[in-house]
Subunit: 190 residues, 4 copies
DNA sequence: TATGAATGAGCCTTCATTCAT
DNA sequence: GATGAATGAAGGCTCATTCAT
């Protein structure tokens, strides 16, 4: 693995453990096994790391979603699998997820983040579009807007569960079911 | 206004302007018009300020929501007003909101935050309960869980709009309408 | 002695030993017997120290000049004493002198430096004016300009001697005499 | 042009723009169009570059002086042209000049610098010697010493003008005239 | 209670220099 | 000779916190 990737992976790891603001560059480079100065060969500043991390996080998220959602399943099932996937990501990348959506990172990179997120929004949009063509969801839906609402809903639901160290699996299951029902009704799925 | 309140108000003001991590205690006390050392008479550390801020923020949020949502309006209208209120709060307290939900503040205070948020969840729960009693929403709803989902949905929708400096009022209006439709369907409102 | 003065004196001392660019703030504060952070209570940056140092240096220079130049001596004698004084200062504050005239310090403070130097220029101007009134020097002299030339001449002469670690006292004496003759002729002194 | 020369020229250029201490080796090599490591094939350190620069600077200075001072002109005219030349150099190479005379560069290379400057001192000495032989200047002059005084005088006069961003051409002209008169009298030129 | 000068640990960043290719 | 990625020591500066008054 090249140095740049090692920096990003190391940063994600430590950010998950200690939070972002509390993580000095020195920790990142130590974990990455490189010298302090090397960091700045690849990123102009600590902040410039963020878009790269967001990108990797989106890739990870999409990989999990694509793996868990069965292309050929029924729509209801797909939604269930989608929820499972998002909850899994939220569970594993609690801190990072929070960062990415919180906008706490410098506003200078916000524009880049939209670009970075585009593929994920597109993926959900496509799923909705298929459903719309098959008339499985209500016709009044604006696909792009709704795809974002859907992602926001499920992610915030997952965060609510995991942010407070919920370890009761049953509680998680019930939350997922509630989201599932909520979402299916929202989409007007029969 | 006593010193403690002045500290909190000053902190909220500057956090909105400069972000939280970039706001030193020295700025807060300057704005509050007190001495540096005085801060520590009221808060044991900079971090200990956060729950107090969250509390005030929730109070502000509830004040706005209660003011904007007409108790006697029809359910659909109430939902619309609720969305308007949350969007307004998100617009004015972008950065703070982000903090509160992101859990970026020390995990030590997370428990307190749940307590702090309780009244807001209760308020929404009550609104849903009324609607449930009048059979205005589907019976399969779990009130408490759904109240959180609802808040999460609307807040994330608002953030998606305001995070990226959207100034196009028409765009905001469309987003609100989409959320409205989405939410009414989710609740099974006739 | 208060902290600000201690910083300035410490800085002058270490600058003389190690040069300016090679002196870290940490050395200055250690010598001054204060904490690193305290430095920044009195000077906004390392560079902001320079005008204060220049001021102290000018004060030191003027103190020596005023002490060594006998108000009631004859003009020729006064010039001799003036040269002695400048050579003494140059000998003791080699490095600092170099700094002050080299303009290596940030151009941002150059304007302040002119102000700082003003009293020294004035002092020499007054000496020349007295001589002019008594018709001891040529009438074609522009007092202000010439006072600066005179200072520049003597200081550069002293630097030429001391910059290269000249320890031969006889050599120094001859240089002084040459400057004396050069200067008296330049001024058209009879 | 070979690499060594390219390094020197590049260094002089950037030093003039940004100052010496603020110029990293990386900038020099970039401007010179060579690799970072290549620098150290020609100079053992950044500091070792200084004598080479001084040498080139002296060459440039002498080239300008020799070009501007008319060998066959009258002595008074020659002095005027000499002053013009030094002012021109000071104007163009402000920062570098300062370095060279300030001794701020490592004292380890000071000896070399004297050698480097020798030809310039010799040139002025020769001019004075010619004048002395023709009895155009006072006989009490010690040629070598006076040549250095003369250079010191004119350069400090030029620095005083250009250090403070004087752009008023008339002011510069007056300063030159004052120096001219001052110097002619100092030399006892009829 | 209130003050605010003082502290000093710790962070981000720069940059001269090295060395494997 | 030439390269340029990598190094890591060092420096300027910030800021939460303390404490004598």
């Amino acid at each position: 693995m090249n140095k740049k990737e090692r920096i990003i992976e190391a940063a994600i790891d430590i950010f998950r453990e200690n939070g972002i603001e509390k993580t000095p560059v020195s920790s990142i480079v130590k974990r990455a096994g490189i010298a302090q100065g090397t960091f700045y060969l690849y990123f102009s500043s600590k902040l410039a790391l963020m878009p790269a991390i967001a990108e990797v996080m989106v890739e990870k998220t999409m990989a999990i979603v694509e793996k868990m959602v069965d292309k050929d399943a029924q729509f209801e099932k797909k939604i269930e699998q989608f929820i499972d996937a998002i909850f899994l990501v939220a569970h594993d990348y609690n801190e990072i997820q929070a960062l990415i959506y919180s906008g706490l990172a410098s506003t200078e990179h916000l524009k880049e983040w939209e670009t970075v997120y585009a593929p994920f929004y597109d993926w959900v949009s496509n799923m909705l579009m298929d459903a719309a063509e098959q008339e499985l969801i209500r016709s009044s839906i604006h696909i792009e807007r709704t795809s974002k609402l859907m992602i926001g809903l499920v992610e915030s639901a997952a965060e609510q569960v995991y942010l407070y160290d919920v370890t009761d699996e049953n509680e998680v299951k019930k939350q997922k079911e509630e989201v599932h029902r909520f979402l299916l009704h929202a989409l007007g799925a029969q």
